[in-house]
Amino acid sequence: MTKTLTILIKSGPYMSMDANLAVNLAKAAVEKGYRVNIFGYGEGVFCVKANQGPKRFPNIGKELVELSKKGVNICVCETCSHARGLRKGEEIEGVKIGSLTKDLFAYIDASDRFVVIGR
């Protein structure tokens, strides 16, 4: 049976390389045929903000859209998003603004490996 990897990203994009690490691991896992889930928690919710426009760095939003198109499930914590003013409708396509206790727990429950990135 295909194994599943869930990545928890706790950092926002561009202040560190954490989001890049999450994206790069997810890409490599997809290429190897694994199922992948990504959950954004805390500042990590900003990874799914639409209309990101970094001038000198890989665009994390676009990378996540591409991963979503390849079947990666992406969800961010609704409470964290609300706390930061990230409203529904401001997220990139293919992303769910969901629940830590329902969605993340469901991801972990269905996962063979769980990787935490960020602080």
């Binding site: 390389m17 691991l25 190897k32 490996r113 990787v115």
Partner: protein
């Protein structure tokens, strides 16, 4: 246990975390700024003395200009091998 590090050793306080490694069973993958540990011979030797297997992302060492300076015992890998270690070789991982 597979340990994953992506912050500079000074930031993650890697030297003080050495005690969490168990002799002979553990491995460490160094991503991004954590690859700076590869040029710290004293730190690398402490980890090797505990039989910790050391892996580092080749592209991250290259990006930091330290690929030629890394200690010989560190094995260079790409993201594909990192995923293989995470998904197949080690049952559990911890980010440090």
């Amino acid at each position: 246990m597979l340990f994953l590090a992506n912050r500079a050793p000074s930031e993650s306080n890697l030297e003080n975390k050495i005690r969490i490694f168990r002799d002979g069973n553990d491995a460490l993958i160094m991503f991004e700024d954590a690859t700076l540990a590869c040029i710290d011979k004293s730190l690398v030797n402490k980890l090797l003395n505990m039989n910790v297997k050391l892996y580092a992302l080749s592209a991250d060492l290259e990006a930091r200009g330290i690929k030629d300076e890394k200690c010989e015992e560190v094995q260079l890998i790409d993201y594909g091998i990192a995923i293989e270690l995470i998904m197949e070789r080690y049952e559990k991982n911890i980010s440090i």
